[in-house]
Symmetry: C2
Subunit: 341 residues, 2 copies
Amino acid sequence: MTRPTIHDVARAAGVSLSTVDRVLNDRVGVRHATQIRVAQAMRELGFERNAAAANLARRRQDRLLFILPAGSNSFMRGLERELAQRSEAWEFTSIAVQVVPAFDDVALARTLQAVDPGATDGVAVVATDSPVVRAALAELRERGVAVVTLVSDLPSSRRQHFVGIDNVQAGRTAASLLGRFCRGRSGKIVIVAGSMLVRDHAERRLGFEQVLRAEFPDQQILPPLEGRDDRDIVEAELDRVLRQQPDVTGIYSLGAGTRGVARALAGHAAGAPRPSVVVHDLTPHSRQALLDGSFDAVIHQDPVREISAAVSLLQSLVRGQPVDPDAGRIGIEVFLRDNLP
Amino acid sequence: MTRPTIHDVARAAGVSLSTVDRVLNDRVGVRHATQIRVAQAMRELGFERNAAAANLARRRQDRLLFILPAGSNSFMRGLERELAQRSEAWEFTSIAVQVVPAFDDVALARTLQAVDPGATDGVAVVATDSPVVRAALAELRERGVAVVTLVSDLPSSRRQHFVGIDNVQAGRTAASLLGRFCRGRSGKIVIVAGSMLVRDHAERRLGFEQVLRAEFPDQQILPPLEGRDDRDIVEAELDRVLRQQPDVTGIYSLGAGTRGVARALAGHAAGAPRPSVVVHDLTPHSRQALLDGSFDAVIHQDPVREISAAVSLLQSLVRGQPVDPDAGRIGIEVFLRDNLP
DNA sequence: TCTGGTTTGACGTACGTAAGTCATAATCTG
DNA sequence: CAGATTATGACTTACGTACGTCAAACCAGA
């Protein structure tokens, strides 16, 4: 009826509480045969460790650090807000946040080097793709700190996991939508990126071009703009392109700086049918643009899920618990005007 | 540094542990002035009850019951599977599942009446819209059982909350997608429903027709088929319609029975361009159909989120804790071939 | 058979809260 | 102001696990 406890396991296996404890938290000093017997008993009884009691008894707090890029990037600020608001929501875990300059690999590497392994058990970092960052990250692991990348990955580095969406898939999804929305009107497609220095932007572009080339070959993709996720730069660049190219049918904005896109479009409202627009990340501005019809779709990653996946992954890593290999995978959400939350 | 405990609160408020406990679990026997003082101290210290310790000390289990419709409906079976698999995932909560005939209000009402309030603290029910169900539900509340509706709502009944997606929005989203996918080809749109007896289907239809009429007026909506979420009935009905109507440009399947849609379509592959298809609920079959290109989009509600929202909502209700008014709202997910999880 | 190490058991305390008992202090009633 | 009532305090046990100490039992090698 009621769930079995370690006492029941001990009795069933014919050993003492201490031994069960040793097996459970794999401490030294248990003969292999005994270990098997205890494990067997746990399986037979269907024992599951009571996490509440375990956390209560274990006095320690897991100290996690989130490193996020600075700037007016709404998505990142959303993550930051979420972390601040829910910092008390995780039991037995304390969370710190540090903000570093965006797209600046050297600054990021310096920050990683400065992490104190005596005061930090795990780090989640929005990575900039660069050798110095890779090196700093490897060093951090050497010093015994758990590391996951967040939002933008750094494959073939020593990070233990990635938490975020599959950015190639995201790009493919954007192309799939934008291609269909533009069907019947062939013309030019503009890609607005932040910087190809961050992996997520490069991957989104890759996926987007794959699908658009293969399935909508009558659309011509222009070289991507790099707006550094800054609304003013994005506005200026996009405005220039729209002026030069009269037959833009679609725009894919795969980074931040979405306000710049909206403003550039507003400046070209007159005359020709407006281009179809797909952007990333639901923010108050992109929501507004969806509602007033200037954007067609928003590809989104849920900051709440992102944070909670990162926290629980880091908790497992820090505590040495087994980790589901694709625990960090966040679903790609698609928003139209009609399914806004 | 460390989180304040009830001991700290007691000291700060100048009262005993017992009094803090009385305030915290609002028991009788505390003067109003004292209550204020304790609440004040809790606020000042930023006290938050340690849920782990509280659950550990409270020996009781919350006993929840989920009532789901029978049948081959993949989505419902998915919910059932999810409940079975994760029944141990919620601490201090035991979950039972009961299956009742689909679209059968009398059977559902009988089941609700048979719920034993002595053995059940809360019920989540996929409601069929009918007066007898409303009455049975009200009676259940009278007997002190917490009740939420799941997936399909029963507004203006005595259920305390609804857990699920906004089905009008879901229908609007489907129309928004299907309308754009069909652009350029005007013709007839087929709606395949399960039964207008369940609220969710009626609402989806409503939202769908709203948007399609307003924004894609050159499409003509045929009267909805009622397939009772049965793949064979759906196949037969849809096959008949496709035979009679040569110019079907789009199909919206808003219930279950998706396999029937796929089979009917397969029988009409030859000749004319295939209709664009939007269906509900990601299942192995709808996933396959997306991948092979016979479906264009799937509107989805995540069973995992649905279950966990229902469980935590019921837990709060049963324990008399405050409830976020839109805690039961689940996001509407949109899947294309390219963003399948 | 003795030695020295390894494995195991017995036991206690702690975590933060719930919930109970009982005595005493404060307050109200008439 | 006595007596009844209510509010509060002091104290205890319990929840299931972690973790520490110490002694006893076991085992391998000399």
